[in-house]
Symmetry: C3
Subunit: 265 residues, 3 copies
C-alpha cells in the first residue's frame, strides 16, 4: 500500500518509467498467464432478478443477489457478495471476500435497546474500480453509497453507509470511512487512516497512514496526525508529560507575564 | 458508523424522531422488500450434530459446524461460519463473511518457537445481536467468549478470545478488542478503537474513534486519545517537539526554580 | 491478542508453566475433540494444476487455484482462498475467510487515472504458520511475498505485496504491513499496529499495540507510539496545546536566552 505514496511523480529515465513499467506488466500478464474466461462459475449463486453481463466473470462461491447488476468485463474473483439492488460498473475487479451491500450501521436508541434502522438504499460502483480482499461497502440508509469511476480500494477497508468517494481516489489497506463522509476526487488515504462520519474532504487531499480525520478538509494538501514512535522508556516519559501539556502552557505563559511585568518596572 | 455517535439523544419534533424514523424504515421494509424465507440454502453446509431453528435462515456458502446452535428467527446472510459448539441466540443478524469461533490467538514461547494453546472454549452470542460483514469473534481458550443480548457490532471488527461484551453495547467498524477484555453494558466504541487485553471497561463508557484503551476504565463517561490532524509541515514541527516534551518540562521547571530562588534573594 | 504480550517469560511454578499448559491443551484436544479427517471437502474447489498433499485438509467453500501447493498436514478451515501459484508449507492452519494471493495494491498515475501494475509474483508461506480469520496476504509485484516458518498471524491482518516476515514473528489482530516492508525474526506486533512500506525491522523488535512504524528499526527492543487516553475534556485541552507545541518550544528557548543574557550582564 506504500507503492502509491512512494512513487507519485517518479520520473527517472523515460517520461514516466513507472507508468511504462505498469504497461509492461500488463503485456506480460496477457502473454504468459492464462486469462480467466468470462461467465459464471458452477459454484456461484446468481439470484433470480440479478443481471450479469456476458463478458463479466463471477468466480466460485460468489453471490449476486436479486436486482444486482454486474457490467461488462467486470471480475468477481471468489467469495464475493454483491447484495440486493447493488450495481457494479464495467471493467471492475472485486477481490476475494469482498462484501458489497451489507447493512449500514444505523440504530436508534430506545428504552429496550437499539432499534434497527432498515437500510433501504443500495451501493453504486462506477467503472474501472478495484476493490481489495475482504473489503466491505455498506448500502445506504435511504440514498445510495457511491464509489465513483476509477477508485482503488485496498484490502480490509470499511466504507460506511451513504459515503461518497470521488473518482480516481485511492485508499490503502485497513482504512475506515464512517457513514455519510464525502471524499473528493484524486485523494489518497494511507493505510489504517480513519475518516469520521458526515465530514467532507476536498479533491486532491492526501492523508497519511494511520491518521484520523476529525474535521472537514476544504483545501488540497497533505495532512498527518501520528504519534511518533519511540523506544518504550522515552515514549512513557513524553506521554506522561503530554497529559500535563495544558498545564505546561499555562506555566510558560505565567513566566512570560512575569518577565513582561519586570521589564515594565 | 458515525450514525451512532451523532444521533445519540437527537430530539427535534416528536418525542424521539430518530426512533420514530427507525420504526418507519422497518414498516417500509416489510411492505416493499420481499422478506427472506426461513430455512437452509441448498448451498449451505450444516454439519451433523449442529442445530438450526426452523424459523432461522442460513444463506448460501454458510457453514454451521457440529454442536453449533442457531436460534429462532436468526439470519445468517451468506458466507458465515459458525464454528464447533458455538451458539447464536434468537433474532440475530450475521452479515456476510462473519466468522464465529475461530481459534483465539494463544501461544506459549519455547525453544522451538511458538507452541499452540488449543482453544477449547466456544462463543456464546445472546439474542438480538447484529454482527457486521467480515467481523470475527474468536472462541475462548478454556471458558467461552460472550456477546450479550442486544449488542451491535459493525463490519471488520476483531473480538479476541474470552472477551465479554455487555448487553446493548455498540462497536463501530474496524474496532479491535484483545483477549480477556471485559466491556460493560451500554458502551459505545468509535470506529478503529483498540482495547488492550485483560482490561475492564465499566457500563456507559464511550470511547472515541481510533482511541486506544490501555488501562481499565472504572467510571462512565467519554474518553478520547487521538493525535490531532494537521497539515504535514505543522505536524512535523509539533511531532519533533513532542519527542523533547519530557526535556521541555524539565527546562521549564528549572526556569521556575530559578525565579523562585531569585525572589527569595 | 494480548496473550502474547502479557505472558512472555511468565514463570511461576514449573520451569515454564505456560508452555506446560499449552502441551496439556493439545493433549486434551486430541483426547476429547474429534480430529478433522484429511482430504478435500465435497464443497471445495481445487483447480486443475493445483496440488494438495493427501494428509492436508481443505474445508468447505475453499478455493485452491491453479499452480498452488498445500503441503502435508496443513488445514484450510473453511472459505479460504489460496491463489494462483501460491504455496503453503506443512503443518499450517489457515482459518476461515483467509485470502492468500490477492493482488498487491500497485498502480501508476496517468492522465486517465490509475493504471494497474499487474502483480506477477506469488505468496510463499513456510511451515507451522498459523493465519487468523479474514486475514489477507497479497501476492508480490515481481518477486514473492514471504511468510517464514513458525510465523503466527492473528485475525483481520493485512500483509502487502513483497513483504517479508521472518521466522517465529507474531502479529496480533488488525495489524497492517504495507508493501515491501521487511520484518525480522522473533518480532511481535501488537494489535492494530501499522508498518509503513519499504521499512526494515530488525530481529527481536516488539511494537506496542496501535503504534505506527514510520522509520526502519535497526535495534532490538520495545517501541511505542500511542496518544494516551484521557477523559474528553482533558484530552481536548492537551490536544489543543499540542498544536502549539513547536511554538511553546520556541517561547521557552527565548526565555532561556533572556536569562543567559541577563546573567552575562
Amino acid at each position: 500500500m506504500a507503492e502509491l505514496a512512494q512513487r507519485r511523480g517518479a520520473c527517472i529515465v523515460s517520461d514516466d518509467p513507472y507508468l511504462y513499467f505498469a504497461r509492461v506488466t500488463q503485456l506480460w500478464r496477457r502473454r504468459f498467464i492464462s486469462v480467466r474466461p468470462a461467465g459464471v462459475h458452477a459454484q456461484a449463486v446468481i439470484e433470480p432478478g440479478a443481471w450479469v453481463h456476458p463478458t463479466a466473470y463471477v468466480g466460485p462461491f460468489c453471490l449476486v443477489e436479486a436486482g444486482a447488476r454486474i457490467d461488462a468485463g467486470t471480475v468477481l474473483k471468489s467469495r464475493v457478495t454483491v447484495g440486493r439492488d447493488c450495481t457494479v460498473g464495467s471493467g471492475c475487479i472485486l477481490h476475494s471476500g469482498v462484501v458489497i451491500g451489507s447493512d449500514g450501521f444505523g440504530f436508534a436508541n430506545s428504552e429496550e435497546g437499539w432499534v434497527k434502522i432498515e437500510q433501504l438504499g443500495a451501493v453504486r460502483i462506477g467503472r474501472d474500480v478495484e476493490i481489495g480482499a475482504n473489503t466491505c461497502v455498506d448500502r445506504g440508509a435511504l440514498q445510495d453509497t457511491i464509489i465513483d469511476d476509477g477508485v482503488k480500494l485496498d484490502n480490509l477497508i470499511q466504507i460506511g453507509h451513504n459515503v461518497y468517494i470521488g473518482s480516481h481516489s485511492a485508499l490503502a489497506g485497513c482504512v475506515g470511512v464512517a457513514g455519510s463522509a464525502r471524499i473528493g476526487s484524486h485523494c489518497t488515504l494511507g493505510g489504517g487512516a480513519i475518516v469520521l462520519g458526515h465530514l467532507e474532504i476536498a479533491d486532491h487531499v492526501h492523508i497519511s497512514a494511520a491518521s484520523v480525520v476529525t474535521r472537514s478538509i476544504r483545501r488540497p494538501g497533505n495532512y498527518t496526525g501520528i504519534f511518533p514512535l519511540d523506544d518504550n522508556a522515552a515514549w512513557e516519559r513524553n506521554a506522561a508529560s503530554l497529559k500535563q501539556l495544558g498545564g505546561l502552557r499555562d506555566r510558560l505563559r505565567a513566566l512570560e507575564q512575569f518577565h513582561k511585568n519586570q521589564e515594565r518596572r
